[in-house]
């Protein structure tokens, strides 16, 4: 097991380095710097600014400096646009917000999705099955950027129950719509995967044996059927995580929640490369770590996997 974890780490770390180097090269290759404004600065001033941000050094020195400071100190350098702030401060402001509603979205998507899928599979062809299938088909065409306006329309403009945006320190009223908008389509996918996986498992011989020896249905489901059912769901969680973290950009923009997505888009329009890179690398790291955890969980649950 330990060697499996080490081997996975051996892949994860180069991946991260590739991501850092790739985004740095992209930034370096960009035509026009962040300080090229409508009114050109005097050359001495420009040279001073570039020296401050270390942009006057040769390429290889810049990249090594950047990678070293990112890897050893988690320091993404100063922001090019917010003059008085570093990228770390920007991330520190936005990330807790994203983390809060992202966490709840994930919890909602997994718990509701799995329970809906299991319920649908146990009571196949009942109303709850049709409901689950209907929801999962319907939600396929409701990605977050479609869901968000619809929610806003219904709950804010028509019913007036929920605030249309903002964060307000994470009060629950401000949390509901982002969480629903972000989690719906993943919840639906998880429900669909769980249902078909559970149906498959329920048809296997070991489940029939468990039933034949007179175990109550609840015990059969929980003790025997749940583990193999959850495996395909587990392997979907990686892509779902990436999708949610990407979707958070839409949520931030649409509901003005003030998460990192909002900074990301603003920086994209302002060509604030250091913030863009900082967020890209942060998100990449999270994704890679998450996939690592999922892989380890998978290997731990699935007895067929050799590691």
């Amino acid at each position: 097991m330990l060697s499996f974890v080490i081997r996975r780490l051996a892949v994860a770390i180069p991946t991260l380095l590739i991501l850092v180097v790739l985004s740095f090269i992209l930034m370096y290759a960009a035509p026009g710097g962040p300080f090229n404004s409508e009114r050109p600065l005097p050359p001495e001033v420009l040279a001073n600014i570039e020296a401050k941000y270390g942009l006057d050094q040769p390429f290889w020195k810049q990249i090594i400096n950047y990678v070293v400071s990112v890897v050893t100190q988690f320091d993404f350098g100063p922001s090019f646009q917010y003059k008085d702030r570093t990228v770390n401060e920007v991330i520190a402001q936005g990330f807790p917000v994203t983390l809060t509603y992202g966490f709840w979205s994930f919890v909602v998507a997994v718990t509701v999705g799995v329970s809906l899928g299991v319920a649908a599979a146990i009571k196949q062809n009942s109303w709850i099955d049709y409901f689950a299938v209907g929801v999962s088909i319907g939600a396929q065409v409701l990605p977050n950027f479609v869901m968000a306006p619809i929610l806003l329309l219904v709950f804010t403009l028509w019913l007036g129950w929920l605030p249309g945006g903002g964060w307000n320190g994470g009060q629950w009223q401000f949390l509901i719509m982002p969480v629903i908008a972000l989690s719906t389509s993943y919840m639906a996918s998880i429900a669909r995967i769980t249902r078909s996986s559970m149906l498959e498992v329920l048809n296997t011989n070991f489940i029939r044996t468990a039933q034949a020896k007179g175990l109550p249905m609840r015990r059969v489901i929980w003790r025997h059927a749940m583990k193999p059912t959850i495996l395909p769901v587990l392997s979907y969680l990686g892509p779902a995580f990436v999708g949610m973290i990407t979707g958070s950009v839409i949520i931030d923009v649409f509901f003005s929640t003030g998460g990192i997505g909002q900074f990301f888009v603003n920086s994209a329009f302002n060509r604030d490369y250091s913030v863009i890179m900082g967020i890209t690398i942060l998100v990449g790291t999270l994704t890679i770590l998450f996939n690592l955890v999922v892989d380890i969980l998978y290997a731990w649950i699935d007895p067929k996997i050799r590691y």
Partner: protein, 308 residues
């Protein structure tokens, strides 16, 4: 004892019947597909949407980029959908005809979806088939690369690229192409692993056919069924993907438009009660995505009956 005449003819008929009944895999699949009512209806819907995208512009009374200055700011009473003014779907906030723009946006979204899926399918299939056919260390390295690329959140890299190299349809295609072939490569590889041990591949190897030709002529055609299914399911994902980027304002550039951009514009004005500005693009978006998913499901059931 001679068999009587009728029996002989019967045998002949039976032989003929058997000949008639022999159906290819594709004919079988076609029959199965057309038995699936949801898939057939979706196919018709897709045809209608495509026709709207292609020919809708001809019926529009205005050009998609024509700005009617007298309508700016008076959307609420002059820009409503009506047959009399010729703005069948109303106008957008800039006084442009929404019917023409929706037709244009549907067309661009469909094009992005189909071209994106095509790129993904071609690259992914060839990559996956190559990795699967050679196997061993080549396979290990090639699939590890896929694993590594898969764990990078590409949407962020794509936005970075769109910002750095400027927004253009080409950049969008490149970005979409970069991301979407990964799944296809995995699927194609898995299928290739089972195909390459079949006798006909062995024969090809024994007669000295070059590996590249074996992959192209013997392996890829046998992947076709699953590739078609996956491509159909990929198109709506590509449309969603493009709409996501356009929703952020980083996709296609004005005056061109796509469904995502139109939905974005509509969602900004719905609070003023201009519901038509979001509902028409949203309607076409939802219908298109739905139809593609159902057609894809129908194709999967038709071409790959064991995979339910």
């Amino acid at each position: 004892m001679f068999p009587n005449r009728a029996a002989v003819e019967g045998i002949g008929d039976a032989a003929q019947l058997a000949e008639v009944k022999g159906r290819s895999l594709w004919a079988d699949a076609r029959i199965r597909f057309f038995r699936n009512r949801a898939a057939v209806i979706s196919l018709v819907m897709l045809g209608l949407v495509a026709a709207f995208a292609l020919f809708g512009g001809m019926f529009a009374q205005y050009e998609p980029d024509f700005v009617n200055f007298s309508l700016i700011g008076s959307n609420a009473y002059l820009g409503v959908p009506s047959l009399e003014t010729g703005h069948y779907f109303g106008t957008d906030s800039n006084g442009r005809d929404l019917f023409a723009r929706t037709a244009m946006g549907t067309g661009i979204s469909l094009m992005v979806g189909i071209v994106g899926a095509l790129v993904a399918v071609i690259v992914g299939t060839l990559y996956g088939a190559t990795a699967g056919y050679y196997g061993g260390r080549v396979d290990g390295i090639m699939m590890r690369i896929v694993d590594v690329l898969m764990s990078i959140p590409f949407m962020f890299v794509l936005i970075l690229m769109l910002v750095i190299f400027g927004r253009s349809i080409f950049m969008l295609f490149l970005g979409i192409g970069l991301i979407s072939w990964l799944d296809m490569a995995r699927i194609a590889r898995g299928q290739t692993l089972t195909i390459k041990n079949k006798e006909f591949v062995e024969v090809a190897v024994a007669t000295g056919v070059r590996p590249s030709k074996i992959i192209l002529r013997h392996i890829v055609p046998n992947l076709l069924g699953i590739v078609i299914v996956y491509a159909t399911l990929l198109v709506p994902n590509m449309i969603i993907f493009e709409s996501f980027i356009s929703f952020l304002g980083l996709g296609v550039q004005e005056p061109a438009t796509s469904l995502g951009a139109l939905i974005n514009e509509g969602s900004r004005t719905m609070q003023f009660g201009y519901m038509w500005q979001i509902s028409f693009p949203l309607f076409f978006f939802v219908v298109t995505i739905f139809a593609f998913f159902f057609v894809g499901d129908g194709l999967r059931d038709a071409l790959d009956p064991k995979d339910r």
